[in-house]
Symmetry: C2
Subunit: 381 residues, 2 copies
């Protein structure tokens, strides 16, 4: 869970990155509201119109604006102040949640920041209506896009963020344990997915958002990705289970290729060993200063060395955190370098037409001297 100290530190860091002409910051994107306050709309409410704002004052004080159905989650978060607007009281019909959120934002800005000349906003997330009203309320105010400093900051995770990712990884691993135990001929891909979701939910102890590739059999595995279907899995087949989830807004992303009958045949074992070797070669390079393009290269190089030149495609990995995927991207044409505090995945795969496919994936924290593998699944399918 994000801590007050972590949120305050990130607020300070963001303010340091902004020019002095911002007297306030208005955050709209749920990821960024969470990033600086730990607030996420409750998954107990599936309302699609939810709109929350986080206002950051120049002195670092944060004010969360949320609707009355989110009051519990709002009051439990790390914002310094909470403004709850009455959206739906179950006595009168609900009003427009989004318009009320904008109105509450404007009232707050007017009362707390009466002489606003500059506001930091995410221009691609802030609703037009909010921007328009801010400009009407404060003559000559400028709205400055702060998406870039936010994206930049998010690359290096703080301690409380890393703890959140660890929790997400543990829930994700519980999904793999369940499927490894239950998998067998006759099970459908959907049943495997349902079993993974159930175990992850029980492990997390609270609702999660989960997704993933659950693909079995030669043809589907060769494609490399796909939603689970009612396809019944057979002995001898493989299941690529790329299972990912977000827990309190932080993502985990793991993959294993599992044998439906529990035993890999020789050729499957040999190819899985190639992926393990490729992953190990990339892992060896994980440290601050390492070039993403170089790390990427380890994967096709190992695959080529095993006589399968040209058979590796896709990325070698990517960052995870408040999003999936996010920077740094471990791809062929990258200029990025790893930094202390990055959290990345490595996910070598082999997809051969007529033969099928395999992929494995783990999550890593970049430490001061190298890396820490956050996931502890064994490599066996």
């Amino acid at each position: 869970m994000l801590t007050r100290a972590g949120c305050d530190q990130r607020v300070g860091e963001l303010l340091d990155r902004l020019s002095a002409d911002c007297q306030a910051i208005v955050l709209t994107h749920p990821c960024h509201v969470n990033y600086l306050s730990g607030f996420l709309p409750s998954l107990a409410v599936l309302n699609e119109q939810k709109l929350s704002f986080l206002v950051v004052a120049a002195d670092g004080q944060t004010t969360l604006i949320a609707d009355n159905w989110q009051a519990g989650a709002a009051r439990a978060c790390q914002a310094h102040q909470t403004l709850i607007y009455e959206w739906y009281d179950e006595t009168r019909p609900a009003k427009s949640c989004r318009q009320l959120a904008v109105r509450t934002l404007l009232e707050h800005l007017r009362s707390v920041h009466p002489r606003l000349r500059g506001v930091g906003v995410e221009t691609s997330a802030l609703p037009f209506e909010a921007a328009e009203n801010i400009r009407q309320l404060f003559r000559n105010v400028t709205l400055n896009d702060i998406s870039e400093p936010l994206t930049e900051m998010r690359k290096c995770k703080h301690e409380d963020e890393i703890e959140s990712i660890r929790e997400a990884v543990r829930a994700c691993e519980a999904g793999f344990s369940a499927v490894q135990q239950e998998l067998g001929p006759g099970m459908t891909e959907l049943e495997a997915c349902a079993s993974a979701n159930a175990a992850a939910l029980n492990s997390a102890g609270l609702p999660i958002v989960a997704g993933g590739d659950f693909i079995s059999g030669l043809e589907r595995c060769a494609a490399g990705s796909g939603l689970p279907t009612s396809r019944v899995m057979q002995a001898g087949e493989l299941l690529i289970m790329d299972f990912f989830l977000s827990l309190r807004g932080y993502h985990a992303d793991l993959c294993r290729t599992l044998s439906v009958s529990g035993r890999l045949v020789q050729e499957q074992s040999r190819r899985l060993a190639i992926l393990d070797k490729a992953k190990a070669a990339a892992e060896e390079q994980l440290r601050p200063g390492a070039k993403a393009a170089q790390i990427y290269k380890a994967l096709p190089d190992v695959v080529a060395g095993e006589g399968l030149a040209g058979q590796f495609w896709g990325h070698a990995g990517h960052g995870i955190g408040l999003d999936h995927p996010e920077s740094p991207f471990i791809v062929a044409e990258s200029e990025e370098e790893l930094e202390y505090g990055n959290v990345v995945t490595l996910e070598p795969g082999l997809y051969l037409e007529g033969w099928g496919g395999m992929r494995i994936e783990d999550d890593y924290l970049i430490t001061t001297t190298g890396y820490e593998r956050l996931s502890s699944l064994d490599s066996k399918g």
Copy 2:
């Protein structure tokens, strides 16, 4: 699943409701993009920055703008044309999805609508950046809020929408069947939730978004709502299971109060019978022209008639569709009247401090002459 005919009909209806000075409509909110095109971002991708637009031309032609990771879902939807922007090709680092979406939108508007004077938009959803660029590109263009006609239209469901809600209800019911079978002393609320989710997923045959109240025991049931916890349920206790989900963007919302040991004691049965009676009294009034406030009143009236005056609180029900809750709201202070094509819930509950709580909920389609109950769960706990 939404059909081409249904989407075209809704597009026509929306255009009819708008003033003549709109040469195009730009939809941003995922609910509304779905409403007029059947497009929903794939749940196989948990990326949080996704941004799609649907552009509706004055002649009813629709153009969906989505990123390359959504290309499959985009091409399978009911929009007449699809514009895919390259967000992340796994060779170069991903660019800002949201900025690319805005750029693609602008290019499309410039090439197809070179002399734009009026655009219909959702002002509380359209990103500021998109609005600003549209105004720079087309001098003197006006951006007209179309949120109200959209909200108005959404109250009466089309045939394909009703079919989508039916599918969601079936998946939701599968969740209840599973929990009814598996529930017993020693099970946790989280396990019940996981079991419901798993059964709903298997029934739906594709990923769903699910939420709900899973509350057991006197104290938690008396509160009326709450996320599932690791609380272990005991014989003699009740579980309020208010389970809701969205399937392809359409919502279902059902509730039953289940006995953990499978048998209700006399007082529990008696109170459940009160809720059944209250629900039946409200059902009798469900027809086009019925006043929401009158329907609401049936619930507290029945409860009062059973000697529990003042013990009913909360709403009596609400609309469901692309959102949950949505109009019409069946509440005490409503001016709304039911119309043919509304889909509403009725959810009487009793929450008594020191005794606990109970709630039941079903989903109804308002027909030309009365109602059709969409859910077929029996009333027993």
